[in-house]
Symmetry: C2
Subunit: 632 residues, 2 copies
């Protein structure tokens, strides 16, 4: 078995209650590597076309990568793959924490979960062994409680638990998988999938005996030491100090902080919900993921007022500050931190949750949703109390929350009355807090990304400072203004999408590795992969793996009839110019996006009419078997 | 100016007799790097559509690369680019020797030659300066004589001279550029282009003052030392001992040595024309190119019998042994060495020359060409005397040689009588001595290569031993049998074509660097590029540069109306099964090749109907300007 892996994939059939271990060969590992591509391999082979995302025929795959658990920053990542109940196409989501490394140390590279248990169960993994246990007593409980109960039951103080909260049990379409009660595989509703299977949790306990071997520990140690020594002077220093929230104020100043459901890119209350404010007022400590020196995670504590926050539930990320904050016109940091806590207790994606509420607020402001719908709640921009209440109601699927739990796109279809006009989502997934209006390539990637709008599927627009060195290694040598979407920019988006796709397959954190601003550059990622696996990995090989995974994502969607027609930005972006701030007056052009899509599909070798992979495209990444499967 | 370059391109206008120096910026150098892509940049910008290849509007570009002249193996290469008088499309050819390094040390990265001189001239370059001098007294003289005369005239004993022989003066369509009187830019008729411009020679004298700086001399020295120390145990050891001729016998045994104009892949006389025989009987010494430890060049001497050979004209390569030997059914090593000498004296490509004679021999055997045509010569397979005579007659364009000097494809058109059936050429260029019958990907590359059949434009079929490590770095992880041309094989051909294209642009020798069998692997090439240029070059960047150059080649041809229709293998391959030896009975399938072409064009993002680049393909390698130029 190659270094970095166990060569052991656990197959769980919940319907039959069986547990089996598959031992793929080295060729499989080098070709699909880990994370998302490995997950997609099983998703494509095992999920039947037309499967109900919340039915037993859906398959949930949890995967690590070769570097997971290695003593270096940014490697403890878990990828979840399944058909998405939010988008109806492929679902794909990453998280950090200690769980991914611990899963590896328990003796598994990944878990493939099929079927549905008759009664709630949880999975208990340790020392290379797996066991299904009754979870009836855990059902309905929030994440913190469940952690305590499982640890107590198993008599283990130090262990890691991945679980669905009550939101996942109830099929909230953007329910998350939670670990440590504060790390989320947030996007595309993976929590709803696990909940639908009556699988409440996965508890893992690692041991040093089950640490996979590293090919060149000395080389790895050196790179690791380099990271620790260079963090302060690196571009990741700000991330270490203020976490992702470091960008709240710069985004607003640059006209790129979505405000009042994307009416504006400037939020007058940005300072009040900023990373600096959080640092000064409610930060308890900085937390980290296994083995990472950056410590970007926030842990906040609020002991007074209406919004008390328990530090075990962590603290809000930039995205959360934006979606519960500026999206909703709310500048109450405590309320946002509290909404974040609800999401972590009940297991929900903060982006989709906050953005769905912001959409409902705009509809309310326009009179399309009224207190009759909301049960008396004045769901207006700026009403922090209403936002918090609605978050709770969604988590519990209570009242109007039961409709919003479907996500903004489905809720608009249920409600009608023209509320669709205000939906800011792609393929049913709400758009995260980076604005294509001021970083034009993002518009293309939001539109074409197979699992809906996502801000971690490509490098954001060219950072001139990063040219020529860091970008030139990717052969990106011609910087283009952030406000332009020409052929070269499409190339930038395409190539960096492949690279980010590779990072989700190697399964590493995009805040640590990357072409432009992170601690380690792409070449260092390659060196680390070499040190861990002993393979002579190159940037080219990584990009091809990334391209392979992207083709697998598109192929899954193609099978479900999802293609170019669904690669659409929200209508609002083309109809309504931004108001105020530096991006005042900016409006996107649908024609420009469609032209960029033409180029993008062609650059990927896909059918330009349908946006779906061709046989040639699949063969070009050694996926002939997939072309056969699709009947191409 | 970046390390490795001067930042100086000499522009010569022969019509006006002007000399100018252009100083491009670093961006230009990193984007086009050198060699072929740099040559194509000027070819596309300066050669008008429909230009007569032998008219003054054609432009001949001679380029080096960043590593040319650096103290390491395999870097002293010269690329010649112009519209080809042999194919009517783009022409492209590489050579080694000492001239390329000396050109660099004279102060120039490349030379762009336009127009036509009224009277014969030669160019004299030294110390960063350039001068045009009268060459009337050199016209009509053979290469050795010209070298002596120029050295005498300039009073320099040590200098390097690139020149056309009498064949180039007379427009033999496969005339070569010669340097050291024994190194040839052999293919695509670049000698005819230079001859048509009345430019007889380019004499260069370097000085240590004009050596470009290297970014990291220590790192380069280490790699260089590694090469010297590991040569004996490397796959290049055989090349060092026997030169390219090491493969004569293995090719024949494997059924891959073209015999009697491709009637068979097995030559019963292979042993007699083998590298071993040459080594034992006529080898005088092993020669090398500037700075290279491999010493693959043969120097032979024959002092007795009808075929005396002067060592100054070197010795035959594998290709020459095949085309004048097995192609013609000739096992007389002395006769072959003598024909090789004629080619080097008069300046002709040995591949096209020998292959054209072999074609004429087959026509003669079938009675389609008679002694009436040949002036009494019995042009039969196995007739060494006739082969030698015909080589002389072609060089001088005498009698029937005047027709054969047009190359086999044009000669067949002139003669008619069904002689076309026996032509073994693609786009008018004769097929070299590697048989797609036993290395199936070569059939595809022979067909689609923009400047006609070429054996140095991709890796020959998968060498299993090289998997997984050396090929895996290119993400080629699934070896395919040599006799299969499936999707994965097309991918192999496509990706390695990009890599070989990159090597012709970085401008290094494919016998030294490469994915499979050479002294240095691709990663070491990258390390060397980094040491020389200081750029953070990656394998991906190199592949993209290679892809850029390939798109430029295709774009040039597209402008000339050359596309898929011309991407045709010789009919003979589909009509006539091989006879005898290990490949007995093998015949190629046109349908298989057409299917492979479909995939190949699509994998490159080109129009599958026409085989020409699309705007998306050009934009995908940052060549938007070229898409504009083509009106796409």
């Amino acid at each position: 078995m190659p270094y970095g892996y166990h060569g052991r994939i656990l197959h769980v059939d919940l319907t039959n209650g069986t547990l089996e271990i598959e031992t793929p060969d080295e060729h499989f590992y080098r070709k699909y590597m880990g994370g998302s591509a490995m997950g997609l391999y099983y998703a494509l082979k095992l999920i039947p076309q037309g499967a109900d995302p919340l039915g037993p025929e859906n398959v949930l795959i949890l995967t690590t990568g070769p570097m997971t658990g290695a003593p270096v920053s940014g490697q403890s990542r878990l990828t979840a793959t399944a058909k998405s109940p939010l988008t109806g196409g492929i679902g794909d989501s990453q998280s950090g924490g200690y769980f991914p490394a611990e899963l590896k140390f328990a003796g598994f590279d990944g878990i493939v979960i099929r079927g549905r248990a008759e009664k709630p169960v949880y999975l208990w993994l340790h020392d290379g062994e797996a066991e299904l246990r009754d979870a009836s007593h855990l059902w309905g409980k929030v994440t913190g409680e469940v952690e305590d109960l499982i640890k107590q039951e198993l008599g283990e103080k130090k262990m890691e638990i991945l679980q669905v909260g009550p939101a996942g049990e109830k099929g909230v379409r953007f329910a998350a998988l939670m670990n440590m009660a504060n790390r989320a595989n947030g996007r595309t509703g993976m929590g709803a999938v696990m909940g639908s299977k009556n699988l409440k949790a996965i508890a893992v306990k690692g041991s040093s005996k089950w640490r996979p071997k590293v090919a060149d520990p000395k080389a790895l140690r050196e790179i690791s030491r380099w990271g620790a020594q260079n963090l302060e002077s690196s571009d990741a220093a700000g991330l270490a100090l203020l976490g992702t929230s470091e960008i709240v104020v710069p985004q607003s100043k640059g006209g790129g902080l979505p405000t009042r459901n994307w009416e504006s890119g400037y939020f007058e209350g940005a300072e009040k919900i900023s990373g600096e404010r959080m640092y000064n007022e409610i930060l308890k400590e900085r937390d980290t993921c296994y083995g990472c020196v950056i410590r970007c995670k926030r842990v906040v504590e609020i002991n007074e007022g209406p919004y008390k926050v328990d530090p075990r539930y962590g603290g809000p990320e930039y995205e959360t500050l934006a979606t519960f904050g500026s999206y909703c016109g709310i500048d109450d940091l405590h309320a946002i931190a509290y909404a974040n806590q609800i999401c972590n207790m009940y297991g929900m994606d903060t982006i989709s949750c906050g953005a769905t509420i912001a959409w409902a607020m705009e509809c309310f402001e326009h009179g399309l949703i009224t207190t009759e719908d909301t049960g008396g709640i004045e769901l207006r921009f700026g009403n922090a109390e209403a936002m918090v209440k609605m978050t709770e109601m969604i988590a519990k699927r209570e009242g109007f929350g039961d409709i919003l739990a479907e996500g903004s796109a489905r809720a608009a279809q249920i409600i009608g009355r023209g509320t669709e006009e205000f939906v800011v989502a792609v393929k049913g997934q709400e758009v995260p807090a980076h604005m294509p209006h001021v970083k034009r390539s993002l518009g293309l990637i939001y539109a074409v990304n197979p699992f809906g709008a996502d801000h971690q599927s490509s490098e954001h627009d060219p950072a001139y400072k990063a040219y020529p060195e860091r970008m030139a290694a990717l052969d990106l040598k011609d910087p283009v203004s952030r406000l332009v979407l020409n052929g070269e920019k499409v190339r930038f988006a395409t190539v960096t999408q492949w690279l980010y796709s590779a990072m989700d397959t190697v399964n590493v954190c995009q805040f640590v590795y990357g072409p432009a601003w992170q601690l380690y550059d792409t070449e260092q990622l390659v060196q680390m992969m070499r040190a861990v696996t002993g393979w002579n990995v190159t940037v080219h090989e990584l990009l091809e793996v990334g391209r392979r995974r992207l083709n697998m994502l598109r192929a899954f969607n193609a099978r479900e009839g999802i293609g170019r027609d669904q690669d659409k930005l929200p209508k609002k972006f083309f109809k309504q110019a931004l108001k105020g701030g530096k991006s005042d007056g900016i409006i996107l052009s649908e024609e420009e996006i469609e032209r960029a899509k033409d180029l993008y599909y062609a650059m990927n070798g896909w059918d330009v009419e349908t946006g779906t992979p061709t046989r040639a495209a699949l063969e070009s990444v050694s996926l002939g078997w997939l072309a056969d499967m699709l009947g191409l």
